[in-house]
């Protein structure tokens, strides 16, 4: 796995930093970081699928939405406790992941991206017209049970989830499985030629990605306390996830976390200065400049910086 002592030290410092955060920042900032944590989970989920295997998904909210809607319907309409509804939501989302896998067995590249986009659009339409008595139709559902109250509790729960997902995926991607998944992204034919089953590997990636998306989506909706199709199955939501992964550093697991924090905090810290839509212009401009400067993301910029420091010392 190539683990070094400083890997554990950095992860430890990150976890301790997060644990101390409520003592150091305002509750308003904590609320912002909660959104960053959930965006990080979604970006990791995208990274496991698209960053590794090269199957670019434009419809990741399809998977997140399955998890979110499953637990929302179970708890709101059938009074199922969240302890049961969330695991069920994860399983249902994994089945959704297998549905996304089907086209990946035949197409890739822009064709696959367009199909995933179609999945998201299809889901957007379906939740509004199929059994609106269950889904809440176009208005969605409000008054869903929330797992925590207050900024501090919400922060700890989201941070725990994010760290658990990030650390487990980071470790997993350092195994031979992670290497094989990356190989699919580089040259799928070579993977087949080496005797590995590309189909099975892709299935693992899609199931893992779906499980994370389902878990994140389920907890996210119980944090918001509300769900609406326009909030979930939106192209802007899909792009935010992709941009967070790319700007942070795709195929690295840590990069999407950095990207999610960077984008969320940037947007929220611009709010008092530019309360209107202008902040999105700055946000987009900064993201574009960063990506042009280093297409491999902030993670790579940090690594290059550290390498320079090491050389100079």
């Amino acid at each position: 796995m190539g683990l070094r002592w400083y890997h554990f030290a950095l992860w430890g410092a990150f976890i301790v930093g997060l644990a101390l955060l409520p003592e150091l920042v305002s509750k308003g900032t904590l609320r912002t970081i909660i959104f960053a944590n959930y965006l990080a989970i979604f970006a990791i989920s995208w990274d496991v699928l698209s960053g590794r295997t090269g199957y670019i998904s434009f419809g990741h909210p399809f998977l997140i939405g399955i998890g979110a809607y499953t637990t929302a319907i179970l708890t709101k309409r059938f009074d199922v406790p969240v302890e049961i509804s969330i695991p069920v939501a994860v399983v249902v989302t994994m089945i959704g992941g297998l549905i996304v896998l089907l086209p990946a067995l035949r197409v890739r590249g822009s064709y696959f991206a367009m199909i995933t986009l179609a999945f998201m659009e299809l889901m957007y339409q379906l939740v509004q017209v199929i059994r609106p008595d269950l889904t809440g139709g176009t208005r969605g559902m409000s008054g869903l049970p929330t797992l925590t109250r207050g900024a501090v509790n919400g922060f700890y729960l989201s941070a725990f989830l994010m760290v658990s997902v990030a650390l487990s995926m980071w470790l997993l991607m350092r195994t031979r499985l992670g290497t094989a998944l990356s190989a699919i992204g580089m040259n799928e034919e070579s993977v087949r030629g080496s005797g590995l089953s590309a189909t099975k590997l892709k299935m693992v990636a899609f199931l893992l990605s779906a499980a994370i998306a389902g878990l994140g989506g389920a907890f996210y909706v119980h944090y918001l306390g509300t769900i609406a199709p326009r909030a979930l199955f939106e192209i802007n939501f899909a792009f935010t996830i992709i941009v967070a992964a790319l700007i942070g550093g795709a195929s690295t697991i840590v990069g999407p976390v950095i990207g999610a924090f960077f984008l969320t905090l940037l947007l929220e810290y611009l709010r008092p200065v530019l309360p209107g839509a202008e902040r999105y212009l700055i946000y987009g401009g900064v993201a574009l400049l960063l990506y042009m400067y280093q297409p491999r993301g902030i993670y790579e910029i940090i690594q290059q910086g550290l390498a320079r420091v090491r050389r100079s010392s």
């Binding site: 904590l30 208005r139 008054g143």
Partner: protein
Amino acid sequence: MNYKMTTGVVALTAGLMASGAYAEIKVGFIGSLSSDTGLSTLRGAEIAIEELNAAGGVMGQQITMVSADTGEDVTEGIKAYEYLAETEEVDFIISGSIDDVSLGWLPRMQEYQIPTLDTWTSYIGIIDMVVEDPETMAPYFMNIASDEALATLYINFGADVLKAQMGFESVVILAEDTAFGGAITGLVTEALAPVAGIEVKEIITYDINTNDFAPIFAKAQASGADFIYQVSSVNSQVVSSQYVKLQVPMAMTGVNVAALGLEYWEDTGGAGGGISTLSPVPSVGFELDPASQAFVDTYQAKYSSRPKIPHFNGFNAYHGLKQAMAAATEAGGFDDVKAWSAAMLKQDLKLEKDGQLWLRYGFWDYDTVEPVTGRTYPHNALFDLEAPYDFAQPSMVVIQWKEDGKVGVVYPPEYATTDFTLPSWVPAK
């Protein structure tokens, strides 16, 4: 010398702050900062605050306002509410949010218990939440008539004008694919046939990004209905201007949010004549009482950009914010939410025109049953569903843009300034 002066200024500032002379009431605005709807609420609130501050403030404190943009996005709305509550720590929130955005931040309002006034959202489901959970919904008030009340009176327009005067017996509904579109369509289809005796032939749902309505209008014509009922809140000027340009030979009425603003004529390039729409009051073309006219005069002197006159929610924000502050004065501030809520419920502003009740800004209490619908509307704006409208103003009016660019109220007759007419290219039945 400089040191002494600096020390003196610091000491004076500290003293003033300690004495509470810098205390302020902080109002948060939540809504879109780039839509006519959002700006109407924002500016209505700004003018009310300026007037209150000029009169000495509230409880000896000046009022300030901070804005949080939602971009009409549900998740951004939640973030905006959290920002106002936790970062800005506002005392009171005034909202120009659209329906699904309000539904998004409602759980946060229930958690923070910040007094909140919604000026645009009209979803009856929120009033149902007040009925079901009065405790946690105590801080919430909606000072626009709920969509159920809007639709109920609109059905009367269907019976009195569309059916009785025009002889229309069937309708095709042309509804946008949004939460608003779905809700209004549901309310109208449930009531048009049984109450107004108008058969719903077909419901055509279209995407809000639709640019070419020719096939949709062709489908509407093929339905064989007598008229089109449109439900459009997003890019409404597109559907109405294409209706005019294509000279669709069927009357079209319904809900067209673009037509609620004075900019409608410009937005359609002068191709908006003949369109009629339901509108909460006061609408464009609505005769104003002296107090509301004074507000519009102040508004027009202060703002040169669109909207030229505030939409109905601008009036709601102007009067509603003053009522919220009056309630705070009575309750000793905003901290005791139950006391503030009880005081807000008692607010009652009656505006007269020519010696008659014209507009009334107040709220339904928990027990009073509205006689037409037979239900309660706690914390919803007062409205009247029966002529002669001596209890309050009607829940809505129907306005019509004429082919010469003029606009007037066509229903109910007590508030009408012009007659409902068919566009020149539509044959009478």
